[in-house]
Amino acid sequence: MSLLARRRGRAARPAAPAPYVLDRMVRNVRHGRFERTLSLLTAAGSLVTAAEIYLEHDRASFGNRVMWWPVLLGPVGAAAGVAGFASERMAKTALPVASAAIAANGLQGTYLHVRGIAQKPGGWSMARCNIELGPPLFAPLLVTMVGGMGLLAALLRRER
């Protein structure tokens, strides 16, 4: 790789093999250099997810106060993602820690939602009704996916 390509900013002189931003990005992805972008995506994903969870859990009155955890982890994930975007060190420390917490919280949520469905009148014997009307069965796994994105970002190489 050319040392020139390491330079940041739009004003960077075009490196010979990759005159366009898009080319550079493709080349970065091909070489596993996707850390900063995925960090930012993790940050955005955390915020969007947390906002949606806030609305859904508020609808259910935060009956179990544990329901606040994914809402609070949203800003944490966002901060870690932005930090990972800005600093390589953060991308290797704060980001994986926060992401692991988010992924684990998603698994915990899955367990709690499964338990919630089971405890609805009729339980699993009326599975269709209770899954449709009860706590959303697969929604917490989407949170785990966001956490997984952050973990993956931490493992990737940094863009040039």
Binding site: D58, R59, A60, S61, F62, G63, N64, R65, W68, G116, Q119, K120, P121, G122, G123, M126, C129, E132, L133, G134
Partner: protein
């Protein structure tokens, strides 16, 4: 797919019985027995049967097989005396009224046509039946014809519309536990529900588009209506902050003062029987700290609070200790046992029927089958005399109850939007999704600029302890089998039992005993398994509600109180109040299917306060109510419809939305409970409840009806009908500043006997336009704290005092 008479059904192919596999066992047993072969007649004689059979056919227009076995169902009710208990003072008991009215009809036939009723041509029979209806309030064979007509239509419509074949005809969803409903809202159907094939209004023939205001809708009652609740950014921020405060506060704090929700089972059972098995049990000779009479809203709350304070408490309840799994059913006609059905007599110019919406029985009292509306009273309610010149001033202020209101709203818990009326406040649980009936109310209110909010209902919206989320099955008034709707059976009794209280069910208290000097209460006499017993106690609290509490005090007359206990000033039993509760229904082209979602959904308190522009004082609140088929049949029958007319209206059931008002009727001294000459099965005089309205009451009820009609028309109703009825009971032992004006003080202690309390709805001096349950509980919460703060020894009966 059977329908009565196999008439061309509007819901072709719909079969509620096909869903029977999803019903719980208790409900299936009750409902399916109606389709089974019926036992022979036990009550009606052969001659009565010959009259009753054609009469029932006329009342319900049942001319073809298969018939709903109405004759057998009515016969079984009368043979087993499953009546509502009460009777009008000018009517005999229901069974006797049936015999006399059937004989009267037969006499009419013989007098007019010289033949028994059963032998007449159908047209002649119909003319005789119609003649009874048209007699109105005049007397007919010694009874008011209107009451006879009410008796006939009430029994027959209840039987007919409790039958699954009738449900097939009207498209009703039937029992809904444990299944519940998923698709709530106008025009929405479950996958198994069948659309109405002929959605044209059979009465007005109107197929008008929905959403537009119907022709001729004028704002009669809502013109120039009062101030709307505050709007704007600051109000919104306050609401959001208040709600956030409630949803972030640790639930552990609630659990620390009342762990009931965490003491319920997590599995498919609804009450932990080991709590009853392991209950502390006292001997009759134990002088307990407190004996509570009645285990409803007030009694159970007091029992729990005092048990928490370490008092030894025995709560005596006349009814059973309910097991919701086996004792309660998702069925209207099968839920009579939840009401107080002992005999009572009602009279006055506006007599108040008792039972479904103003009485309760068993542990949990009427909270087991109340709708669940849990609004607070407004600050103005506590001083209506000084504020508006009517009613009475309370010996306490709203501020004295605010903390109690907040505590109880968290313990029930109450779900609803931020409440902008009265003292604005947030609710701990979020508002529930709204069904078709609620959508209609919101739409109509928005069109007229009336503020309407979702809530406040004491139904969990989300997890609370081990109580699950509501499943929107619509049978709130038949006892919640889900444990989602609050009743003291699940909100206060488990914690009381866990803290050493004894709840002794099936014990009917017959009298309160004083010491020889008549200064202090020493205990209560009660009947258990047919034997009279006496429970000694240092303090006694009566919580039997507005009819039974005065009756017990009056029945406990002694040498010191010859006119009844605490009745030195002739105040016991006076100032009993009901709320005027007209219900207005509107017909919509869309399917409303009001039976889905809880009946309590949306309410408005825009008309709560006195409007200086109006000729009447005080106001009313508006709420959704969603009648199930049997109650809906009462609505239709109240318009005078019978026979084919009744069936036609009923087939239109899924298109009707219903609103109810609660009008604040004023306390009047002559609206009172006294003792009747009649005795009950224990040999005690039964209560006689006389009620008459004043002019202010009549104006309020008419105004509320007009507003509801406006709202429904604004929402697009093509036809509206109104039924006049009452709801709730309060007063009878009202609290006041001094013994000359009331029976108890602000701490609910009687003025006459220092260790005797009255802790139920009968202490309310006025009743506002709010449902009373939350206020009853709040008053008791406050009184319990005051009682516990006072030295317990202060109430102790003098050592060795003779009984």
């Amino acid at each position: 797919m059977t329908t009565p008479g196999r008439h061309n059904p509007r819901f072709t192919g719909y079969d509620v019985l096909a869903r029977a596999g999803t019903w719980d066992a208790a409900t299936s047993g009750v409902v399916l027995s109606r389709t089974a072969v019926q036992p022979g007649l036990r009550f009606f004689t052969l001659a009565e049967e010959a009259t009753a059979r054609p009469l029932f056919d006329h009342l319900l227009a049942q001319w073809d097989e298969p018939r709903v076995p109405v004759l057998q169902m009515v016969d079984a009710r009368l043979a087993e005396m499953q009546t509502d208990g009460w009777r009008f003072a000018d009517m005999p008991e229901d069974d006797e009224a049936w015999r006399r009215s059937l004989a009267g009809l037969d006499d009419d036939a013989r007098a007019l046509h010289g033949a028994p009723f059963g032998g007449l041509a159908r047209e002649r029979q119909a003319a005789l039946v119609r003649a009874v209806r048209d007699t109105g309030s005049a007397r007919w064979h010694g009874m008011p014809a209107g009451h006879v007509w009410g008796l006939w239509t009430r029994y027959t419509a209840t039987a007919f519309y409790s039958h699954p074949w009738a449900w097939n005809e009207i498209g009703f969803g039937g029992p809904a536990y444990p299944r519940g409903y998923v698709r709530l809202g106008l025009g929405l159907r479950e996958p198994w529900e069948v659309a109405d094939q002929h959605p044209v209004d059979p009465v007005t023939d109107s197929g008008q588009a929905v959403g537009s205001r119907s022709a001729g809708a004028e704002r009669v009652g809502t013109a120039g209506h009062r101030a709307a609740p505050p709007r704007g950014l600051a109000a919104a921020a306050r609401a959001a902050a208040g709600t956030l405060r409630l949803t972030t506060a640790p639930t552990g704090r609630i659990r620390d003062r009342n762990a009931s929700a965490w003491l319920l089972p997590r599995d498919d059972r609804r009450f932990d029987r080991s709590l009853i098995d392991g209950m502390r049990r006292h001997e009759d000779d134990d002088e307990v700290d407190l004996v509570v009479i009645g285990c409803g809203a007030g009694g159970a709350t007091l029992t729990q609070r005092m048990a928490r304070h370490g008092w030894s408490v025995v709560c005596l309840e006349a009814g059973p200790f309910w097991n919701p799994d086996t004792d309660w059913v998702s069925d209207e006609a099968g839920s009579h046992h939840l009401y107080w059905t002992e005999p009572r007599v009602v009279s006055g110019t506006d007599p108040v029927p008792l039972g479904a919406n103003n009485s309760g029985r068993g542990v949990g009292g009427s909270t087991t089958h109340f709708a669940g509306y849990a609004p607070r009273f407004h600050p103005s309610d506590f001083a209506t005399l000084s504020g508006d010149g009517v009613g009475a001033d309370w010996p306490l202020r709203y501020a004295d109850l605010r903390a109690s209101y907040e505590r109880l709203e968290q313990e029930l818990p109450v779900a609803g939007q931020y409440w902008p009326w009265g003292d604005p406040h947030p609710y701990p649980h979020a508002p529930h999704p709204v069904g078709g009936n609620g959508e209609v109310f919101l739409r109509g209110a928005a069109a007229l600029g009336i503020g309407a909010r979702v809530g406040p209902v004491a139904i969990t919206n989300g997890r609370f302890g081990n109580r699950p989320h509501c499943v929107y099955r619509g049978f709130c008034l038949q006892g919640c089998k889900v444990n989602a709707k609050a009743s003291t059976l699940i909100t206060h009794v488990p914690d009381a039992l866990a803290h050493g209280a004894e709840i002794r069910a099936d014990c009917m208290v017959t009298g309160i005993e004083l010491d020889a000097q008549g200064r202090l209460a020493t205990g209560v006499r009660y009947l258990r398994e047919g034997r009279e017993r006496f429970q000694r106690a240092r303090a006694v609290a009566v919580a039997g509600y507005s009819v039974e509490t005065p009756r017990l005090l009056l029945n406990s007359a002694c040498r010191r109180f010859p006119e009844g206990l605490c009745n030195d000033f002739d105040l016991v039993g006076r100032y009993v109040m009901v709320q005027g509760a007209p219900q207005t229904s509107g017909r919509f082209a869309e399917e409303v299917r009001a039976y889905k979602a809880p009946p309590p959904e949306v309410s408005s308190e825009d008309f709560y306060e006195t409007d200086p522009a109006k000729p009447y004082k005080r106001g009313f609140s508006l709420q959704t109510v969603s009648p199930l088929p049997v109650v809906w049949a009462e609505h239709v029958a109240a318009q005078g419809h019978w026979g084919e007319d009744l069936r036609t209206y009923m087939r239109d059931y899924v298109h009707w939305a219903t609103l109810g008002a609660l009008c604040e009727l004023l306390p009047l001294p002559d609206n009172r409970v006294t003792l009747s000459q009649e005795k009950d099965r224990y040999g005690l005089p039964v209560a006689h409840f006389s009620y008459s309205q004043c002019d202010n009451d009549r104006m309020l009820i008419r105004a509320a009806q007009t507003v509801m009609e406006d709202v429904l028309r604004a929402a697009g109703a093509t036809e509206v009908i109104t039924i006049n009825r009452y709801a709730h009971l309060v007063g009878g032992c009202r609290m006041a500043a001094g013994p000359g004006s009331g029976v108890v003080d602000a701490d609910l202690r009687t003025f006459a006997v220092p260790n005797l309390l009255v802790t139920d709805g009968s202490v309310l001096p006025t009743q506002g336009s709010a449902n009373p349950a939350l206020t009853i509980m709040a008053l008791v919460d406050r009184a319990a704290a005051r009682l516990a703060a006072g030295a317990r020894s202060g109430l102790r009966a003098p050592a060795g005092a003779p009984r």
